[in-house]
Amino acid sequence: MKKVEAIIRHIKLDEVKTALDEIGIKWMTVTDVKGAGKQKGYTEQWRGSKLNIFLNPKLELKIVVKDELVPKVIDTIMAVARTGAIGDGKIFITNVEEAVAIRTGARGEEAL
């Protein structure tokens, strides 16, 4: 099992969700996050003064999938979450040792 953590733009959530649904992934955890990358925040204006906000608001999707699905998930997210402008986000993949479904007690890939 692998965990796919994708940091994406807020406006891309619906498209990503729909696209993942089409390849059979109907589960995810979504968190509001703030972070900084190459985009280096944004600038606000308040009463004639500039205000640099260092941390950009983004969404983080967490999806745990079977190993063989990972390339497909990456391709799907890339296909719809990409705008080409700075600030499109990142995808991180990590190993998952175990998964447990709390209701049924199922373990491993059965729990997904």
């Binding site: 606000e44 308040w46 205000l51």
Partner: protein
């Protein structure tokens, strides 16, 4: 029985009940008509309502004489004054809500309870302080209130020379104020005082210790506001510059550009100077940082409430409903508000790329402040010009305070109320067109400004403008310095960074929103104990995006 049939049945029963009730009403009415006088016809269009039969018994039948009729007319004249004045009182009172929303919207969420708290408590303090001490000092020598009837109890003035009054001496502790005319006047003046008193809380927001604020509230409502107010509205020396020195009609400030707004604005400046800037406002080199307010919709609503209240602030300052000049006054008020707001918006748009809404609100308020003194004396075209100047002046004023004086005024109170208050009285001395104000301050001729040949009037206005700065800035500065020495004006740095709401007021404004409380607050207050390794907030625990340099 089907569902729809059941509904039909219920409806039918309802109809039956209603018609039964109607019949029974008709029957009882008929029964009554039979026993008593015939039922009078109704008057749906109002043409028959209000006639000689409505006069009080003392003016009916054989009592109807010219004298008794004149008494009735006099009573009605005062009645229009009362109704208009109490309407104005209610409108101006509502400006407290405007200030509360404006100031809280322009400041940060972590101080919202504290800022709101100052804005409501100032009213409670003001009512008490003004009734017992402030009102007598200000109006104890104002004389007979001609538009409100009543008695001439307020007839004691402390004078430094004949005709040069400096303080009222009648009415302390409420003595002799138990009179309808005087109390109507008191109520109206009370809400003006509270407007002035609440202005400095904006400039001093986000760092003003609440206990020190309470002392301040009593000081301004009991002493500082009434002092200058007496000189202008209470028959004091500034109002007599015309009668004594021939300077136009003496110093005139129709509804309080200086008495209320410049007073509040320059006390605000004094307070902001003594308090010092909020942590993170200025960098080491002195360059300012933006600290955005947390709720722009709230601030916009506050601005609208203030404009709404200004209908009474300026309009009811005629003190009588029979002075139809009030239509001109209210027209002028809204022209200046609109041109002030538009001017600010276009200037920000042109020079800073976007129509900054917070500055647009300040521009509208600046226009309102500036037109407050001249609104009764100028033509509508002049009101428009006065607003345009105000809209530009407020932006210059905000930058002057922040970038030249290096004083931190979170809501722009000094620029809006201080500078534009001065502009208002000077504008009166420029644009007053000689169509109104004959008899004001005991001078027979109407009020004329510079462009209509009234150089004396302009001189009187300039003297008054200088005086208000001396009294408000000087008096305010000395008071705040002394208070700072005695009890300290400012909260601790830890309290300021955490936000004043919890340490000063004990309550968070928005406890359900994540990020409104530091994460160590909840475990403490819910009795779970602080998470391991997390105790007191460190100075650098504010999140990175919350004002650079914090």
């Amino acid at each position: 029985m089907g569902r729809s049939t059941r509904i039909l049945l219920i409806l039918a029963m309802l109809v039956a009940l209603v018609s039964l009730a109607g019949f029974s009403g008709a029957f009882t009415a008929k029964a009554r008509a039979a026993t008593a006088a015939p039922a009078a016809a109704t008057d749906p269009n109002g043409s028959a309502t209000g006639s000689a039969s409505d006069l009080s018994p003392s003016a009916q039948g054989s009592n109807l004489t010219l004298q008794s009729l004149a008494n009735e007319v006099g009573h009605n004249k005062i009645a229009t004054g009362f109704i208009w004045l109490m309407t104005g009182f209610a409108l101006v009172f509502f400006m407290q809500a405007g200030f509360a929303l404006l100031e809280t919207g322009f400041t940060r969420a972590k101080n919202a309870v504290h800022t709101m708290g100052m804005n409501i408590v100032i009213f409670f303090i003001g009512v008490v302080g003004f009734y017992f001490v402030g009102f007598p000092l200000m109006f104890g020598g104002v004389g007979h209130l001609t538009t409100l009837g009543g008695v001439a109890n307020l007839n004691g003035m402390l004078q430094i020379a004949k005709g040069w009054g400096i303080l009222g001496t009648k009415g302390f502790g409420g003595a002799g104020l138990y009179d309808v005319g005087i109390l109507a006047f008191f109520l109206f003046q009370l809400v003006f005082m509270d407007t002035a008193a609440t202005i400095p809380t904006g400039a001093m927001a986000e760092r003003f210790k609440f206990s020190a604020f309470v002392i301040y509230g009593f000081f301004i409502s009991m002493f500082l506001y009434p002092l200058f107010g007496n000189w202008v509205w209470g028959g004091g020396w500034l109002s007599q510059l015309g009668a004594n020195l021939g300077l136009g009609n003496g110093y005139l400030d129709f509804a309080g550009s200086t008495v209320v707004h410049a007073m509040g604005g320059f006390v605000a400046l004094a307070g902001a100077i003594v308090l010092g800037a909020r942590i993170g406002k200025f960098n080491k080199g002195g360059s300012p940082n933006a600290i955005p307010g947390h709720h722009i919709p709230m601030a916009v609503l506050g601005t609208l409430f203030l404009a709404f209240g200004w209908i009474g602030f300026n309009g009811a300052s005629t003190l009588t409903g029979g002075d139809f000049r009030l239509a001109v006054i209210i027209t002028n008020t809204f022209l200046a508000a609109a041109s002030g707001g538009l001017t600010s918006m276009f200037i920000m748009w042109k020079f800073y790329g976007k129509p900054d809404l917070s500055m647009t609100c300040n521009g509208a308020l600046a226009g309102l402040v500036a037109i407050t003194a001249p609104c009764a004396f100028v033509a509508p075209w002049a009101a428009l010009v006065i607003g345009v100047v105000a809209g530009a002046l407020v932006i210059g004023g905000v930058f002057l305070v922040e970038r030249v004086f290096k004083v931190d005024d979170p809501v722009g109170a000094v620029a809006v109320h201080g500078f534009n208050g001065l502009w208002g009285v000077l504008a009166l001395g420029i644009f007053a067109d000689g169509t109104y104000g004959g008899g004001d301050n005991g001078v027979a001729h109407a009020v004329k400004g510079l462009i209509y040949g009234g150089t004396g009037q302009f001189a009187a206005q300039a003297i008054g403008a200088v005086t208000v700065v001396v009294v408000a800035l000087g008096g305010g500065y000395v008071f705040f310095k002394v208070l700072d020495r005695i009890m300290g004006l400012r909260v601790t740095a830890e309290e300021e960074i955490q936000g004043l709401d919890l340490p000063q007021m004990g309550t968070l404004a928005y406890p359900d929103f994540s990020g409104s409380a530091p994460d160590w607050v909840t475990p403490h207050s819910s009795g779970l104990g602080a998470p391991p390794g997390k105790t007191a907030p460190a100075m650098n625990s504010v999140s990175l995006d919350e004002g650079a340099g914090a």
